[in-house]
């Protein structure tokens, strides 16, 4: 299953195969740093606003595709808030991976991670930041990076297939 997290409200990019889309539908609450998703309802966020199951969805996906406006080399606030709310995908315990401390796996699926960033005047430095963060995300999820793409505007995404 492909899991797509996007800030585009009218998402109409063709997708091959089975998929689920998480897009802005109602307001999202930001992560409050309570760790309830690890120690109260392990695997699931404790904030009930319709975005609490992303960690579970990530455990079922083979590909995680982020489609987001680029903010300073980062995901947009919406996509980042969804991502922040999904740390339950991983286990709170630590492991040493590539010489650094990361979280242990909760699930066995190996996520293939892609990002499609759009936005006017994304600088080379921002692109480099975005690429490095996706690599860091893959290390933390114990997954792999498939691709990172940049577009000058959201309309340019209409020509692609996910």
């Amino acid at each position: 299953m492909k899991l797509i997290i996007t800030d585009l409200e009218n998402f109409n990019i063709p997708i091959e195969g089975e998929y689920k889309i998480i897009s802005p539908k109602g307001s999202i609450h930001h992560c409050i740093g309570c760790f309830g998703c690890w120690v109260k309802t392990p695997g699931k966020c404790v904030i009930h606003d319709g975005y609490e199951n992303t960690g579970i969805d990530m455990g079922k996906c083979s590909e995680l595709i982020l489609v987001s406006k680029c903010y300073y080399g980062s995901l947009s606030p919406f996509v980042k808030m969804v991502q922040d709310r999904a740390i339950s995908y991983i286990h709170p315990d630590f492991v040493i991976r590539k010489g650094e401390m990361h979280h242990k796996r909760r699930y066995q699926n190996v996520i293939s991670l892609s990002a499609h960033f759009y936005g006017e005047a994304i600088t080379e430095t921002e692109k480099e930041t975005a690429r490095e963060i996706l690599e860091a995300n893959a290390d933390n999820y114990d997954g792999k990076v498939k691709a990172v793409h940049f577009y000058k505007c959201a309309e340019e995404l209409e020509g692609i297939t996910l």
């Binding site: 300073y72 980062s74 947009s76 980042k80 922040d84």
Partner: protein
């Protein structure tokens, strides 16, 4: 000098970011005025924007969230960008704490803040990435330079000096003065205590809900 301390933790109280800013405060002389501000939600109030505009330096302190800046803080930064709040002589500094042992894992978050500075024409003054931030808010208050926080105290002291002199520093990365295995063990014992306090077993930490 008016220095804005911007706590970017979602927690209003008992955050590692707040504890670090409190420690940093101790390194400034009384001739400076510290403005304690909080970016705890997705919005920046008009009052806070007005206070920010009066400051000579901005110090952001926040936790590392999934290798980057927490989503709510990104939202605040985007609002400040829209407000066009730049000042060519106001240095912006960053302090990022992460739950991992290695402070270097905060480098991407500092880079995002630096990229924001470039976009908004605010001079970037540099920052600190702090590893082992998980226990900072709960650590006992010791004399600066003593105990597990000693390397952090040193980094904060150096940063304070740079801020007062309105100088730039290279990003620096530090960790708590504990062996990595001891930090890992302590953190994992903490998760087990917390889940048991919620009426569950340690084995529930690995639950896979449907």
């Amino acid at each position: 000098m008016r220095i804005a301390f911007i706590n970017g933790s979602p927690k209003v109280k008992n955050s590692a970011s707040g504890a670090l800013l409190e420690d940093l405060k101790g390194y400034f002389s009384e001739t400076n005025e510290i403005l304690d501000l909080g970016f705890h939600t997705t919005d920046v109030s008009e009052t806070v924007k007005a206070e920010l505009s009066t400051a000579d330096a901005w110090i952001f302190a926040f936790p590392l969230y999934v290798d980057g800046i927490p989503g709510h803080l990104l939202s605040c930064l985007a609002q400040l960008e829209e407000e066009n709040v730049h000042h060519s002589k106001r240095q912006v500094y960053g302090i990022v704490n992460c739950g991992f042992y290695e402070g270097i894992q905060a480098k991407h978050a500092l880079r995002i803040l630096q990229n924001w500075c470039t976009k908004t024409n605010n001079p970037w003054g540099g920052g600190i990435g702090i590893g082992g931030g998980g226990g900072l808010a709960m650590m006992p208050k010791l004399e600066p330079g003593q105990g597990p926080k000693a390397p952090i105290d040193k980094a904060l002291s150096m940063l304070a000096e740079k801020i007062e002199q309105q100088e730039i520093q290279e990003n620096c990365y530090v960790s708590v003065a504990l062996p990595r295995f001891a930090y890992k063990l302590g953190a994992q014992m903490g998760w087990r205590q917390m889940i048991k306090a919620n009426g569950k077993k340690a084995s529930n930490l690995a639950d896979r809900p449907e």
